[in-house]
Symmetry: C2
Subunit: 131 residues, 2 copies
């Protein structure tokens, strides 16, 4: 029962962090977004090397917002968790005002940091055909 309870705790903490992510993105708050990541987190974006650490992650998301993306919608499909790590599979939609800027899927490695769960590795791919 303990491990089932922990898994449920992990899932609700991760879902809450994703809501914070979406809300922060919607108001253009890259500082809050970066704060959801671990101190040694990495993004693995396409057409880029690893983006490592809080400041680089903050600048990355700031840059996405400056390209005109106004909303990031995250839909968790599945979370595998054991102990202090969790791996989430999901779908995303990026909006630029009324337009859909991109749709795709993602994998996030989360790590427990005290009571909080933090994004530790974050990678996503567009599901759109090659332009």
């Amino acid at each position: 029962m303990t491990s089932i309870a922990s898994a449920a705790d992990a899932r609700s903490a991760i879902e809450a962090a994703n809501r914070t992510f979406m809300n922060a993105f919607g108001r253009g708050d890259a500082v809050t977004l970066a704060g959801l990541y671990s101190a040694t987190a990495q993004l693995l974006p396409a057409h880029s090397d690893f983006v490592a650490g809080s400041m680089a992650i903050r600048h990355f998301w700031q840059g996405v917002m400056e390209l005109g993306v106004t909303r990031a919608l995250l839909e968790t499909l599945e979370i595998e968790t054991q102990g202090d790590i969790a791996c989430e599979t999901g779908r995303y939609t990026l909006r630029a005002g009324e337009e859909i800027a991109d749709v795709g899927k993602y994998l996030v490695l989360w790590k427990r940091d005290g009571a909080a769960w933090k994004l530790h590795r974050d990678i996503w791919t567009t599901s759109r055909p090659v332009a």
Copy 2:
């Protein structure tokens, strides 16, 4: 000590599976590649929806080989593991004969399946600039 030993076991099983992956890729053996994935595995490739299940995964890698990719080189950077799950971060290089066809990075969720570790979620992004 048990968890340290299990982590080392997970790491060596995953590194062995990656060597099998590279060898199978090098001889064009998509059947062996697909066998390294769990029964409910998913690829998350760019410009595609999820690729789910052994047959679809086999066809995906067969298609990559038919595009002229002759070698896939995997370099593990880091493995986070607890219990029956492990999350690997790494770099890849795809070769087409003497040419480098692509370089990038990946995140793989591995799951223990008895004594074996199987790829369960597999996602990668090119590190090359937009063409």
